[in-house]
C-alpha cells in the first residue's frame, strides 16, 4: 500500500507528535505545528493520535492513492479535491485505489494536516517519524516531499477498516466523505488580528514597564522569516530594563523570546532545546495551533492568561479529543 507523490506542493513534510525524550541531548523535537489538528485527523481515520501524517503548507501536493485509503484533512481550507470533487474538512473520506487528491489555490494562507488510515509508515528515527529539515532527520529521507516519492502506508486499525466499509464508494478511483464531522476550532475571522493567549515568561519582570504594556496591547505582524522553527514578529521594540547577562536555559514550543534587536520570536515545533535570550512570555498550549496558521503577513495580538486558565483549557481540549475518539469508535460500529 502506498501513495504516489505527483506534485510535492510548497512544503509538505511527514510529521507526528515529535521526537520526545531527547531534548537533554539538544535534539530538536519537531512534529506537527498544530499537534491537535493532526491528532484529530488521526482519530477520524481510526489511527492512534500519534500516527504520522502530512503537514501541508499553503500550496498542497497532488497525491495518487495506489490502494484503497481512508483519509481526513484538518486545519486551514487549502481547497482539496478528489478527482475534481471538493473534500470537506474534519471528516473521514473513503478513497478507492487510483483516486487523485489535489489542492487548488487557497483563498487564505494557512497549513493543513492529512491523516491516512494506517499512518505514513516511514522509518522511525529516535522514537518518531517527524521530519527535522535542518538536520535531514526523520520523515521521508529527512526532507520535504518531492515528485516521484512513494509514501508507505501502515496497517489499518479495525476502526479504520470498518469506517472504510461503511463509506465504501462504488465507482473506481472515487471518494466518499462521511456525513458526520469533528467540530474544528474556529480560525481567526478575516481582517481581525489573531488573538493568542500567553503567560508571563521567566524573564517577564526584567522587561521595562513600557515594553510589558506594549506586548499585551499592541499588534504584531508575522515577518517573511517565519518558518517551522519560529514565528518572527515585527512590532513595537521590546527591551529589558536590566542588562544582566542571561545563562542559556530551556525553551519550548510557544516560548516568546526577545533577541537584542527587540523584535520577539515565538518558538515553534523546530525550536532549539535551549536558548539564551530573555523569555518574555509563553503561549498557552491550547493556543499553539493558532500559531501554525500565522504565516507571513498575519497580524497577531497577545492576551494575558493565568496558569490555572491555561491548564483548564488544555484539559478541556484533551477531554474533547477523548470524546472524539469514543464517538469515532461508535460510528465505526454502526
Amino acid at each position: 500500500m502506498s501513495i504516489s507523490v505527483l506534485k510535492p506542493g510548497l512544503l509538505t513534510t511527514v510529521q507526528d507528535e515529535g521526537r520526545l525524550g531527547y531534548q537533554h541531548t539538544g535534539l530538536v523535537v519537531s512534529g506537527a505545528l498544530d499537534a491537535l489538528a493532526l491528532r484529530t485527523a488521526n482519530l477520524l481515520v481510526g489511527n492512534p493520535p500519534g500516527a504520522a501524517g502530512l503537514e501541508i503548507t499553503l500550496q498542497g501536493p497532488t497525491l495518487r492513492f495506489e490502494a484503497d485509503a481512508l483519509l481526513a484533512l484538518t486545519g486551514a481550507n487549502l481547497v482539496a479535491s478528489l478527482n475534481g470533487q471538493a473534500v470537506p474538512l474534519g471528516r473521514p473520506v473513503a478513497v478507492r485505489a487510483g483516486a487523485v487528491l489535489a489542492f487548488g489555490r487557497p483563498k487564505a494562507s494557512g497549513r493543513a494536516w492529512l491523516a491516512v488510515a494506517g499512518g505514513v509508515a516511514v522509518p522511525v528515527v529516535l522514537g518518531s517519524r517527524a521530519t527535522y529539515l535542518r538536520a535531514g532527520l526523520g520523515g521521508l529521507a529527512g526532507r520535504a516531499l518531492q515528485a516521484g516519492d512513494e509514501l508507505p502506508v501502515g496497517e489499518w486499525s479495525t476502526i479504520g477498516r470498518r469506517l472504510f466499509e461503511s463509506l465504501r464508494p462504488e465507482a473506481p478511483a472515487s471518494g466518499a466523505p462521511a456525513r458526520w464531522y469533528a467540530p474544528a476550532s474556529p480560525l481567526a475571522s478575516p481582517g481581525a488580528p489573531l488573538v493568542v493567549r500567553a503567560l508571563p515568561g521567566p524573564e517577564y519582570a526584567q522587561f521595562a514597564p513600557e515594553s510589558q504594556r506594549a506586548f499585551w496591547e499592541e499588534n504584531f505582524s508575522v515577518t517573511t522569516e517565519a518558518d517551522r522553527m519560529g514565528c518572527r514578529l515585527s512590532g513595537p521594540p521590546l527591551a529589558r530594563a536590566t542588562a544582566t547577562e542571561l545563562l542559556s536555559s530551556a525553551v519550548t514550543f510557544g516560548t516568546v523570546q526577545v533577541p537584542a534587536g527587540g523584535q520577539p520570536i515565538v518558538l515553534l515545533a523546530d525550536r532549539q532545546t535551549t536558548g539564551g535570550y530573555p523569555r518574555l512570555a509563553q503561549v498557552i498550549s491550547a493556543d499553539l495551533g493558532k500559531l501554525a496558521q500565522a504565516l507571513p503577513g498575519t497580524r497577531l495580538r497577545f492576551q494575558l492568561a493565568t496558569l490555572a486558565e491555561a491548564q483548564a483549557l488544555y484539559l478541556a481540549q484533551e477531554r474533547r479529543l477523548r470524546a472524539l475518539a469514543r464517538a469515532v469508535h461508535l460510528k465505526s460500529l454502526l
Partner: protein, 241 residues
C-alpha cells in the same frame, strides 16, 4: 536545608513545564546539584513527567497536565512543583556524594585548514600556535549542558589566557566537528551551521549521530579532554567514524 532554600526557585515555563533554578552562576557545585537532582528524579519518577532538560543553573521538567489531572484535583503545576520541592533534600544529599562523570577524549587536528583562526587566537593571547594547542589540550573540561543544536556541548574550563572575542563576521557555514573559541568559552560544532566562533581545529568524531542508540556523543556531566592529532590520524579516524 534552611540555609540553602533561598538559592532554589521554582517557576513555570508555560502550562506544561516547571523550571527548577538551583543557582545563579555557572559553577561546578550548581552543576553537581542539578546532576544529583536528575538522578534522584530518575529513581523516584512522578507519573506524567515527560522529560528533563538540564542547563547551567536550571533543570526544566516537562510534564503532561492530563496525566497529573487524573491523579489529583490540584493544579498540575502545583503537583509537580511540590513534588520537586519534596525531592530537594534527597538531591542535596546526593550532591554531596557526587561522582564525576566519565572522561571523554576528543581527538582534534589543530591549525591548518581545520583551524583557520589558530594564528589569530595565538596573536590575541600573545602565545605561539603551539602554546595555544598545548594549553587547549591540557585542560580538563566539564560538559555543563548539551543544547543549542543536537549534540552541542557547553563546556567549562577554558584557560582564561585563550579567551578571544567572536569573529566580527560569522562564517556562513562552519563544518560539523569544528572546535572553536568564543569569548571565555570553547566548544565543538555538532552540525554544519553558520557560526562566529574562532576555529582552531576539528575533530573527526561525530558529536551527533541519529543512528546510535545514544545519539549524542557527550552528556551533561561528562568530563572532556582534547587530544592533539595529526592530519593523517584525522583522516584515518574520519573513515572509522
Amino acid at each position: 536545608m534552611a540555609d540553602s532554600l533561598p538559592l532554589v526557585r521554582l517557576y513555570p515555563l508555560g502550562d506544561a513545564a516547571v523550571v527548577l533554578e538551583l543557582g545563579q552562576a555557572i559553577a561546578p557545585a550548581t552543576h553537581q546539584l542539578i546532576q544529583a537532582f536528575r538522578k534522584v528524579l530518575a529513581q523516584r519518577p512522578l507519573p506524567g513527567l515527560r522529560e528533563v532538560v538540564p542547563a547551567f543553573t536550571t533543570l526544566t521538567v516537562y510534564y503532561d497536565p492530563w496525566v497529573l489531572s487524573q491523579a489529583s484535583e490540584a493544579l498540575p503545576y502545583e503537583q509537580v512543583a511540590s513534588y520537586l520541592q519534596r525531592l530537594l533534600p534527597a538531591a542535596q544529599a546526593a550532591a554531596t556524594a557526587y561522582v564525576p562523570g566519565p572522561l571523554v577524549e576528543i581527538p582534534v587536528c589543530y591549525g591548518g585548514d581545520f583551524g583557520p583562526d589558530l594564528g589569530l587566537v595565538a596573536s590575541h593571547a600573545q602565545l605561539s600556535p603551539e602554546e595555544v594547542i598545548a594549553r587547549h589540550a591540557q585542560a580538563e573540561y566539564l560538559v555543563y549542558m548539551v543544547g543549542f543544536a543536537p549534540g552541542f556541548p557547553y563546556l567549562g574550563g577554558l584557560d582564561a589566557g585563550l579567551a578571544t572575542p567572536r569573529r566580527a563576521q560569522p562564517r556562513p557555514l562552519v563544518p560539523a566537528g569544528a572546535v572553536g573559541i568564543a569569548g571565555a568559552q570553547t566548544g565543538i560544532y555538532s552540525l554544519p551551521t553558520p557560526g562566529g566562533w574562532q576555529l582552531i581545529g576539528r575533530t573527526p568524531l561525530r558529536l551527533f549521530d541519529p543512528g546510535r542508540a545514544q545519539p549524542s556523543l557527550l552528556q551533561a556531566g561528562d568530563r572532556l579532554r582534547f587530544v592533539s592529532i595529526s592530519e593523517v590520524e584525522f583522516q584515518r579516524l574520519a573513515h572509522v567514524h
